[in-house]
């Protein structure tokens, strides 16, 4: 019989190994601290910019302010957040990085403001190494993108900031594939964001005004082939009062389908003689009689043959008349 040997239990052994491995590869990755509110400042270019300023938040709003309603809504949202912070504290640390003497917020401006509203002296913060411009915008994008309440306008501002930063740091235009890789979304979704990125100014103005808040509609507009119909729809949307949630109604009256609806039906007759009479009158006209030879083989006893002949006649007349107009 062999001598009894001792060893560490396998799960404990792998636990030790994995823990050491994780510690040595992730050093400093979770640098959290309770940080004084005074040491923190918001990002002046935060894509989720609030309408109210810090002093308005603390001293109350002016009812004669033209943006009173938006500000009031922002303030209420902050108060709700403050109420929840009061109950359970700030559950998720805000993200900051060192900028000069202060720590600047990457994400968590609302938690920060709500904490000020509550009179808190400190807030949990995760301290990051200073990101480059592109990574900063990218981190804000990641933080924001899955929010339900983020408007397309805010997404656009973030996306543009990210694209500009990408251009600056990588010296290259951001493209659809990069968007897909960066944001980790499906190619069709990435295509929509890409459309937003290269949309012309008139469409962006609609996004900024809050009249377009749906990425799919932006994509439809940007990729519309019929430029005339597109221009028409854009001006319709800009004259609409609120947000436009679907293009269906516009599409049926603009562009291709609009042309079809201009067609005039000439009705039906049961007596083939009326048809023959009309045909003779038209073909006797000086402008059309040179086409007479095309209509020699009509079977006047067949409704189908007559209808076909009239289709051909109308086509000929349209061609003839439009060339005359031109």
């Amino acid at each position: 019989m062999s001598k009894k040997r001792f060893t560490i239990a396998p799960d404990l052994a792998s636990g030790l190994r994995n823990t050491i491995q994780s510690a040595s590869t992730n050093q400093g990755q979770l640098h959290y601290d309770m940080m004084s509110i005074d040491a923190i400042e918001p990002d002046p270019e935060n894509p989720r910019k609030l309408s109210i300023h810090r002093n308005e938040m603390l001293n109350g709003l002016n009812t004669s302010d033209p943006n009173y309603q938006t500000k009031q809504a922002d303030l209420e949202a902050l108060n709700d957040l403050a109420e929840s912070i009061k109950r359970v504290g700030v559950r998720n640390a805000i993200e900051v990085y060192k900028e000069g003497q202060k720590y600047r917020i990457i994400s968590g401006e609302r938690r920060y403001l709500a904490s000020i509203l509550l009179g808190q002296k400190s807030i949990p913060a995760r301290i990051n190494p200073k990101p480059d411009e592109f990574n900063l915008r990218y981190m804000q994008w990641v933080e924001n993108i899955n929010r339900q309440d983020l408007s397309l306008r805010e997404k656009y501002i973030n996306l543009m900031a990210m694209a500009e930063a990408y251009q600056k740091t990588h010296n290259a235009e951001i493209n659809e594939k990069m968007l897909q890789d960066l944001i980790g979304i499906s190619s069709s979704h990435a295509y929509r964001y890409y459309c937003l990125l290269r949309a012309d100014k008139r469409i962006i103005d609609l996004v900024r005004a809050g009249k377009l808040n749906n990425l799919k509609i932006v994509q439809e507009l940007v990729s519309m082939k019929d430029k005339g119909a597109r221009e028409q729809i854009i001006s319709w949307i800009s004259s609409s009062k609120g947000e436009v949630t679907s293009l269906e109604n516009y599409k049926t009256v603009a562009g291709k389908k609009a042309m079809v609806s201009k067609a005039i039906s000439l009705g039906k007759v049961n007596n083939s003689n009326i048809a023959k009479y009309l045909m003779d009158i038209v073909l006797s006209d000086a402008r059309f009689n040179k086409h007479q030879h095309k209509f020699n083989n009509i079977d006047w006893s067949s409704a189908k043959s007559i209808s076909k002949a009239f289709q051909a006649l109308f086509k000929t007349m349209e061609t003839e008349l439009s060339s005359e107009e031109a």
């Binding site: 001598k3 009894k4 040997r5 001792f6 060893t7 560490i8 239990a9 404990l12 052994a13 636990g15 030790l16 190994r17 823990t19 050491i20 994780s22 510690a23 040595s24 992730n26 050093q27 400093g28 990755q29 979770l30 640098h31 959290y32 309770m34 504290g89 301290i127 190494p129």
Partner: protein, 290 residues
Amino acid sequence: MSIIAVVNNKGGVGKTTTSRILAEYYSIVKNERVLALDMDPQANFSNRYLKMEIDPYQQEGRIPPLHSTYDPNSPEDRDWDGRSSIAGIFFGEMVFPYTTYIDTLEIAPSHSSKLLLAEAVIREEVVQKVYDQLSKFLTLDDVKNSYDKIIIDTPPSKGPVTISVVRAATDLLIPSIMEPQPIEGIYGMIHLWKSETLRRPENRPLNLLGVLPNSYDRRGIIHKDHYDSLKNEMPDYVLESKIGRRLIYAEADADGAAPPSIFMYPEKNVARQEVIYACQEIDERMNANV
């Protein structure tokens, strides 16, 4: 200034013995200015250097003796009861270290009931009241300029007091017996080291000195087998040197032991030699990561 924390959440694995050895090595052998901190409510570390007294309000607890500089008649000391412990940092009190029989060794002793109280604060208060208090104390200019080494003995737990020690430390040493249960304790400490490592900024890492095998018995195979398999799992973090199972360590712990420190034994003494070897290895590991 290096801050060495001696940790293991299993009791009886040699935390206090190791703390003593390090405190005495740096003060007696290296002649450095050492401050010993006893964060364990059991106060064994303190008792080696001070005559700890029974807490009149809690018979099983210990409180520090009256401080040598305390003068009840002096107006300066009017608001002070004459006793000072490291537990004071959790209660906004001043800490006055005590001198010991070793010239360059001072100690801020334990205070059982206060340390137990700090350990028991409710979750919401922990961060402000406990976690950061020790690092705040140890970064005071007065402390930084007065000592070369801080040696901290800790309670056998993973509670708030131990966490405050880990947050303040520059170096972590885990003494352990090479047996299944103490090795589980190593796992707990490695976890603590990991979360602290992830939490800290990169320019202030927490150096894991490693596991120091203690009470090591060369006669059987159980200690050797566990040592080998531990070394296999974490090769960089198990020390080569071992503190053997010897009566001399218990004797040096007894009241009135003569000589009072292992470093005062004759140079040929085997125990003294193995302890010096261990301390040298620890010292090298500290400097390797500076």
